[in-house]
Amino acid sequence: MLKHSRLIGFIALLSLGISAWMAFYWAPVEHSMGIVQKIMYIHVPASWVTFFAFSVIFFCSIAYLWKREEKFDVVAASAAEIGIVFCALSIATGSIWGKPTWNTYWTWDARLTTTLILLLIYAGYLLLRYFIDESDRRARYAAILGIIGFPDIFLIHLSVKWWRTLHQPSTMFSTKPTSVIDTTFAVTLWVSVLSFTLLFLYILLKRIELEKKNRLFQYKVSHMHT
């Protein structure tokens, strides 16, 4: 798949262009929210990519502990870094959207809070990696954290939801007839989700390539004098 990274990058760029065009020219301005609603075409895909990245970490962590192949650790480490960037992007865009809509930048709503805690958990994950020198031990410890963090997200979400909630339920998968969103909005959203996923894949492949080179370099440096 690494060989095709250039192709994936090209398709990602193209589809990002298309979704930008769709968001600004094809999809109409939403009635009640106005132009602010356009930020949803970044916010929703960013949130999706966040969750996707963290699922990648979870499955790679299990695979690492099971198979003990370094490639799983490389993928998990790369996905964590990208996931955290998209997580921050999702919180930032949500915040910008929240100001005119809820009249506040920040509120302790269930999803917002869950996303923030998610950011903290995976910041801890990266810090743990940072504090341990490159080794099989680092890969093992990180994998354990990648595994326990994942089921916790559901418990955190549930508990925070009971605690308080303000965020509207997800509209994309809603089946309630009253809340189904207009087709143009939905199509634009899906296209932007797809292009963000491609973008994530492209960055992930590049990051994996970099990580591999970096590890090879470290290996060579440490064996130079022996």
């Binding site: 903290l120 341990i132 410890y141 326990i148 418990l155 508990s159 009971w162």
Partner: protein
């Protein structure tokens, strides 16, 4: 299986009974935090009553971290862990033994802190004291299950004092929320149905992390 767990618990208890480091530091740390909170909140009893359950459990988390840090430090300091692993003991049993040790320390400390807390914050328990004991037990169990695993990971790392709470506290949020909510319900004398869901969540958290920590601990102790 039980004899192995018992041996590890006995060793940890014996070590601490001689030095009393863990018990004394956890107890006085809890006491200081309770007093500091009382000063910070001022004398308005109404405010203090509403936030008391939160204070109680945050105090527990902060004091509990001290016990967790110590629990693997004694093993790694003199390379004792190597000898522990040389024994033909199942690694899951090492986890259970270590966890049981942490539970006992937390129970000791809570047994001293609860009366003081009641004294400072002026609560009166009626029949709900039993529920309060159950919540305390469940919270200590969940905290020790996840805490023992993470303490095993972080002990001996650079900045281990920072990284353990940094990893543990976000993961413990469902546990903290649930125990605060149940305690709040008990203090405000609500009916059991009002906080039964939280009690179930607490139980679910305990079960999930007891199993996951037990299974993954094997990979912490690998050499």
């Amino acid at each position: 299986m039980f004899s192995e767990i018992k041996a590890i618990v006995r060793k940890d208890m014996l070590l601490d009974m001689r030095s009393k480091e863990n018990f004394i530091s956890m107890l006085f740390f809890s006491l200081v935090i309770l007093i500091i909170f009382n000063f910070a909140l001022g004398s308005d009893t109404k405010i203090v009553t509403t936030v008391a359950p939160g204070i109680f459990w945050v105090t527990f988390l902060l004091a509990g971290i001290i016990g967790l840090e110590k629990s693997f430090l004694v093993e790694k300091e003199n390379g004792c862990i190597e000898f522990l692993l040389l024994n033909p003991v199942d690694k899951g049993n090492i986890f259970l033994g270590k966890m049981a040790g942490n539970i006992i320390f937390s129970l000791w400390v809570q047994a001293c802190v609860i009366p003081l807390f009641i004294l400072f914050f002026g609560y009166h328990f009626h029949s709900e004291f039993l529920v309060f004991v159950i919540v305390t037990l469940l919270t200590i169990l969940g905290f020790s299950a996840l805490g023992t695993l993470l303490a095993g990971i972080t002990t001996g790392l650079k900045f281990s004092g920072v990284i353990l709470p940094l990893l543990l506290f976000p993961l413990l949020i469902p546990l903290l929320l649930a125990s605060v909510k149940v305690t709040e319900g008990i203090f405000l004398q609500k009916s059991l149905e009002a906080y039964l869901d939280w009690l179930k969540l607490l139980l679910a958290f305990d079960l999930i992390f007891l199993v996951v920590s037990y299974l993954t601990f094997e990979f912490v102790m690998e050499h």
